[in-house]
């Protein structure tokens, strides 16, 4: 059972987090624990994941009590397993800036017996607004990604990143970040052939001294989706905290994170793999992942209660290579998942992808490298 209370300015940050996650997906998991309240979102193509964890000290008041369920062989800590539709929750937190001004107190609590989340705003002039949002029982997904193991780390003020992103139009789908120990360049992804009406190619070089922290272990160029980056940026401007970018080589996911005392936000995006460079060692990656995965399978609590909603979307990694509508046919990717089920236009950019940890037998051909997800 979750019970927490926020002040007006905290509601603004909370609302901005929801807005940022809404750019990733239409569904949001509300995942409270002793560590705090986590909001999680994964896109249908499994190429982007966002999680904002609000620690208990963020709130005016935070209470999470769990009932320990004894279940067959082992006892499991029950999660709230609450999945909300963005369509329901986003309008409640619309205009976070004005919420900050009008809301004096906000209470959020759950009633798991009725599968409802209740959000109450106590506003000025004695007005009280109550929203009851029904949720679906669904186990949240969590991504396993060792951001501290990345060879490249940049820490930048959100304002600088915002100034760089102004260069790109909203029609620009992908953006490339190219780094060397001497410079950082953000540029339009040079895949699509340009014509008169088509996009301008833009690039911006930023010197190392504009970063709060600059560590480049390996020269690299990674390409990722612009839209998801923008979502994260909007949130970071609300928190005024610097953004850390962790990344490695193309194909490996990149992490954008904000870490301060009150909250921790992580946005993990898949990056475009570069076929020629990957061809050298796909096998070795598969093996190590298989091993890792089996470890994970032991350590995660195996809830036999499979979540239908989750599995129906992406039944593990699939062998068939969905023909990516890439304009460079040579760049077929070795890591693709069940894109047939997601009808979204982002399908065409079959990026480095997420492999799930399903209970069912895992096929070992052509594994996905990229975001590794397990169910909590």
């Amino acid at each position: 059972m979750l019970k927490c209370e926020l002040s007006g300015s905290q509601v603004k940050v909370f609302g901005k987090a929801i807005q940022a996650l809404s750019r990733i997906s239409d569904e949001l998991w509300l995942d409270p624990s002793e560590k705090g309240l986590a909001l999680r979102s994964v896109n249908s193509c499994r190429s982007a994941y966002g999680c904002v964890l609000f620690s208990p000290v963020f709130f005016q008041h935070y209470q999470w009590s769990t009932s320990v369920k004894v279940n067959d062989n082992d006892s499991t800590m029950s999660n709230l397993n609450c999945k909300l539709g963005m369509k329901s929750i986003l309008p409640i937190f619309r205009c976070p800036n004005s919420l900050e001004r009008t809301v004096e107190k906000c209470k959020i609590f759950t009633r798991s017996d009725k599968c409802k989340v209740v959000i109450q705003f106590f506003c000025r002039h004695g007005i009280r607004r109550t929203h009851n949002v029904c949720f679906q029982e669904s186990q949240p997904l969590q991504v396993i990604f060792e951001k501290n193991m990345c060879s490249n780390t940049l820490v930048i003020q959100p304002r600088v990143l915002a100034e760089a992103l102004v260069l790109f139009t909203s029609s620009q789908e992908e953006v490339t970040l190219a780094v060397t120990p001497l410079s950082v360049c953000l540029k339009s992804s040079s895949d699509e052939p340009m014509d008169l009406t088509n996009s301008v190619y833009s690039e911006m070089f930023v010197g190392p001294d504009e970063f709060d922290f600059f560590q480049i272990g390996v020269d690299t160029e990674i390409t990722f989706c612009f839209k998801e980056l923008k979502g994260m940026l909007i949130f970071s401007e609300a928190t005024h905290a610097p953004i850390a970018i962790h990344f490695d080589f193309p194909g490996k996911p990149m992490a954008l994170s904000i870490d301060d005392m009150l909250l921790e936000a992580n946005f993990i995006l898949a990056t475009l793999a570069d076929e020629p460079s990957r061809a050298s060692s796909p096998q070795s990656l598969c093996l190590s992942q298989n091993q890792k995965r089996s470890d994970l399978m032991h350590s995660t609590h195996n809830n036999s209660k499979a979540d239908k909603n989750v599995t129906s979307k992406a039944p593990g990694c699939i062998l068939s290579k969905a023909a990516p509508k890439r304009l460079y046919p040579s760049e077929t990717l070795t890591n693709i998942s069940a894109l047939e089920t997601c009808g979204s236009p982002t399908m065409k950019r079959a990026n480095g992808d997420i492999s799930e940890v399903p209970e069912s037998s895992v096929s070992d051909t052509d594994r996905c490298q990229g975001l590794r997800i397990c169910r909590r």
């Binding site: 260069l167 088509n198 301008v200 190619y201 690039e203 911006m204 010197g207 504009e210």
Partner: protein, 280 residues
């Protein structure tokens, strides 16, 4: 063919940015004509623009600290480029606090106008932003369609009222009908009219003033009260008015009865001519 130019002055840069923003609102694609003294943004009355044409002229030395160009040949010392106006406008907008802006004609797989901007930044290192705007070079045989239009002999010439006021009125009228009648006379009166079966709406502007006539005879022949009218598509007028973000230094409207409306604007030192043909 060569072209390179540089702007270092902030005021010039802002002015150039505003001009390109205006052009972007007036036309989706247009022709940029580069000659030793001037830059022109041209829209010829080809089918695509449905009869509307535009000629915008600026003196290069009012903007650029450095300007070098070499046309196709010595006799034809000009360069004509087709581009999407929005691309240039957006690229210039990113140069808000630039220390310097350079524009060059380059060939990176295909012809481009490369805009490179040196931005001031908080730290010691400056940021360099580059935009490659794809352009199409227009061959010399098509240049004849892109020359300065001849100013028609107008029946009435009148100063325009505040363009923002005109725009808000025309916007509301658009909801009623697409067919607008603009009429004016030599007594400083201008009317905007729409007529449908159910309703007739007219907005009257008075005391606008008329520019002095070109020749003495013309003014004496025409009775001052007599209106010259032109029927036009209201959307074309609205597009023209939407492009005027700032009030021009001078705004004159010349009407040729039942033929064409010619707008002659001056924004500081940039001249804009815009032609809207009558509905047939």
């Amino acid at each position: 063919m060569k072209f390179r130019a540089k702007i270092v002055d902030a005021a010039c840069l802002n002015h150039f940015t505003r001009v390109s923003a205006m052009i972007a609102k007036l036309a989706k694609t247009c022709t940029l004509r580069i000659s030793p003294e001037k830059l022109n943004f041209v829209l010829s009355d080809r089918v695509a623009s449905a009869g509307v044409s535009m000629w915008c002229e600026l003196e290069q030395e009012n903007f650029f600290s450095e300007f070098q160009m070499e046309g196709i040949s010595a006799e034809n010392n000009a360069i004509y480029l087709d581009l999407t106006a929005e691309n240039l406008s957006r690229a210039l907008k990113t140069a808000q606090n630039a220390r310097a802006l350079k524009i060059k004609l380059t060939n990176k797989h295909f012809p481009c106008l490369t805009v490179s901007i040196e931005l001031l930044s908080v730290s010691s290192s400056s940021r360099v932003v580059t935009h490659d705007i794809p352009v199409k070079v227009i061959p010399r045989k098509l240049w004849k369609d892109l020359q300065e239009p001849t100013i028609p002999d107008s029946d009435v010439s009148i100063y325009l009222p505040a363009l923002k006021t005109m725009k808000s009125i025309v916007e509301k009228m658009k909801n009623i009908s697409n067919h607008l009648i603009m009429e004016a006379n030599l007594s400083g009166e201008l009317n905007l009219k729409i007529e449908t079966e159910l309703v007739c709406v007219t907005t009257h502007f008075k005391d606008l003033g008329n520019p002095p006539p070109a020749s003495e005879d013309a003014s004496q022949e025409r009775p001052p009260e007599q209106m010259a009218e032109v029927h036009i598509d209201i959307r074309k007028l609205l597009q023209f008015l939407a492009g005027q973000q700032v009030n021009p230094t001078r705004a004159v409207c010349n009407l040729v009865s039942n033929k064409i409306i010619h707008f002659d604007l001056l924004h500081e030192d940039v001249s804009l001519q815009y032609f809207i043909p009558a509905l047939s």
